[in-house]
Amino acid sequence: MSSPRVTRWRASPSTGRTTSSTSTRSRCSPTRPIPTPRTPSSTSCSRTRRAASWTGPVSVPRSAGRRSDRSTPRLSPLVWIAAGVALALLVLPLAALAVRAPWAQLPELLGRSEVVSALTLSLGTALLSTLIALALGVPLALVLARSAAWPVVPRRVLRALVTVPLVLPPVVGGVALLLLLGRRGLLGGPLEDAWGVTIPFTTTAVVIAQVFVAMPFLVLAVEGAIRASDRRFEQVAATLGASRATVFRRVTLPLVAPGVSAGAVLCFTRALGEFGATVTFAGSFPGVTQTLPIATYLELQRDPQAAIALSLVLMVVSVVVLVALRDRWVPGTTA
């Protein structure tokens, strides 16, 4: 029923050619006279004529669908330049390291049982620490992000306190952990007296040290993401009958997934590279507390080339883990 109308209009250029200014119909019709036929001006109202004057968009190619969906990235050249410099600063040193690294030594190194056990320990503890940091840190981030209703001073001080472990030289952080959880520590003493539990120099201590050092990264990243997110979706979820836990799990978290993902990556990598606090609080017992960074540090005293090779192993492993895990953590937001 619609085609006749379209056809009628398609045929209308001829009626549009009238020069009479009194014709209301042609006045209000979008068709107008064509002065010079070959000029690609827009004065023709005929769809066919117009389509001919456009070189391209006549039919709908199947492949165009996907391309048309997204809009241009449109980043200014300045942004690209700055990003390039930043990337060079981060990547070139690694390239230099890779150029000078004793690649031939790698197979031998990777065959050593201490290296393998250190690598396993590092990956295991870093993953565990990240999971713990997620379980504890995301709620903390939530509380901090939603602290807008609190008085100003406690709110700011609380936020600043969370960042303090970032500032401490890691070795001092390790000392602080010893002072708290060591056998003579504020909590560690009573803990040992009551249950005979000692924490330092165990794999548990490695995890605690890593959580202490790495969790603030996660908390701050997630807090930033939560503060930037729209709270109204949570209200909607509540009106739909979702409990607080459901709202958190199915609305809050997915909405800040990119932030949580970024925070988890920060946390994981920081835990993987952690050295000072671990060696101070947990010691460096092969297989128990000697993580790969500690092994690297010790190797640096003995055989710097081997140490560089070990760092490369750490690098490659972390890149592989990140590339493999990342897009799985955030199914929707990364394409």
Partner: protein, 244 residues
């Protein structure tokens, strides 16, 4: 600082008792000892198959802090007397034994591009000089040595440990540095060592001790005995360590 027993082999450990040694010995050793103590561990476990030696390497002061906080260690081997003394002050150790020493050596990059010949070159301001910081054991030794030969050094950096100094020299960032002889030896062909006069007069002594709260005192005693044994002496000599 506490009294240091310089007589080797003073511990009383009967051969009969050694047969029964079992369990785990936890040894805290200065990071600069990691090579030799690695060998010690292997050898000791061969001698006492039912003993498991665990060595934790870290900076001496870090280990000392861990011990002060009640770390369940049996043996502590420090890189200097002062650190051991701080542990003794705390009551965690009653009496230690010096088991070896180390002395300083000039180190320059391969080919000695700056033409360094002796300690006097450390005063040249046109050179990049790396030294240990005064706060750490090798730095204390450096200060003593330079005072002794009356050289006013012009360092560009005061490093937190020997390894850092060595790294800078190895990579050619520093034209000269002062490190332990053992480190020069361990670095092999990567650097060149220049022996200096008077270095042997300024030695850094390494003490070892069984901790008062040692969970496995018998095995700990046996390990210390091993460190003080002639076999260990040979290993230490091979790595460039001097007599206690």
């Amino acid at each position: 600082a506490g009294g240091v027993d310089t007589v080797p082999g003073s511990s009383s450990a009967g051969t009969a008792a050694e047969e029964e040694l079992t369990g785990q010995v936890t040894v805290f050793a200065a990071a600069s000892l990691s090579d030799v103590f690695g060998t010690f561990e292997t050898r000791f476990e061969e001698l006492h198959p039912r003993v498991d030696v665990l060595v934790s390497f870290a900076g001496s002061s870090s280990l000392a802090e861990q011990i002060r906080q009640g770390a369940p260690a049996d043996v502590f081997a420090s890189a200097d007397l002062a650190t051991m003394a701080s542990v003794e002050d705390d009551g965690a150790v009653s009496g230690s034994t010096a088991f070896t020493s180390n002395s300083l050596e000039l180190v320059v990059p391969v080919g000695n591009p700056a033409g360094v010949t002796g300690l006097a070159d450390l005063a040249r301001s046109d050179l990049a000089i790396a030294l240990c910081a005064e706060e750490v054991p090798c730095g204390a030794a450096t200060v003593t040595l330079l005072d002794a030969v009356d050289v006013e050094a012009a360092p560009d950096t005061l490093e937190q440990d020997v390894t850092s100094v060595l790294t800078k020299v190895r990579l050619g960032e520093a034209d000269a540095g002062l490190v332990y002889r053992t480190d020069v030896l361990a670095a092999g062909d990567a650097v060149e060592g220049i022996a200096v006069d008077g270095a042997d007069d300024v030695v850094n002594v390494y003490p070892i001790a069984v901790l008062a709260d040692a969970p496995n005192p018998d095995a700990a005693d046996a390990f210390v005995d091993f460190v003080l044994s002639d076999e260990a002496r040979g290993i230490l000599d091979g790595a460039g360590f001097g007599a206690p």
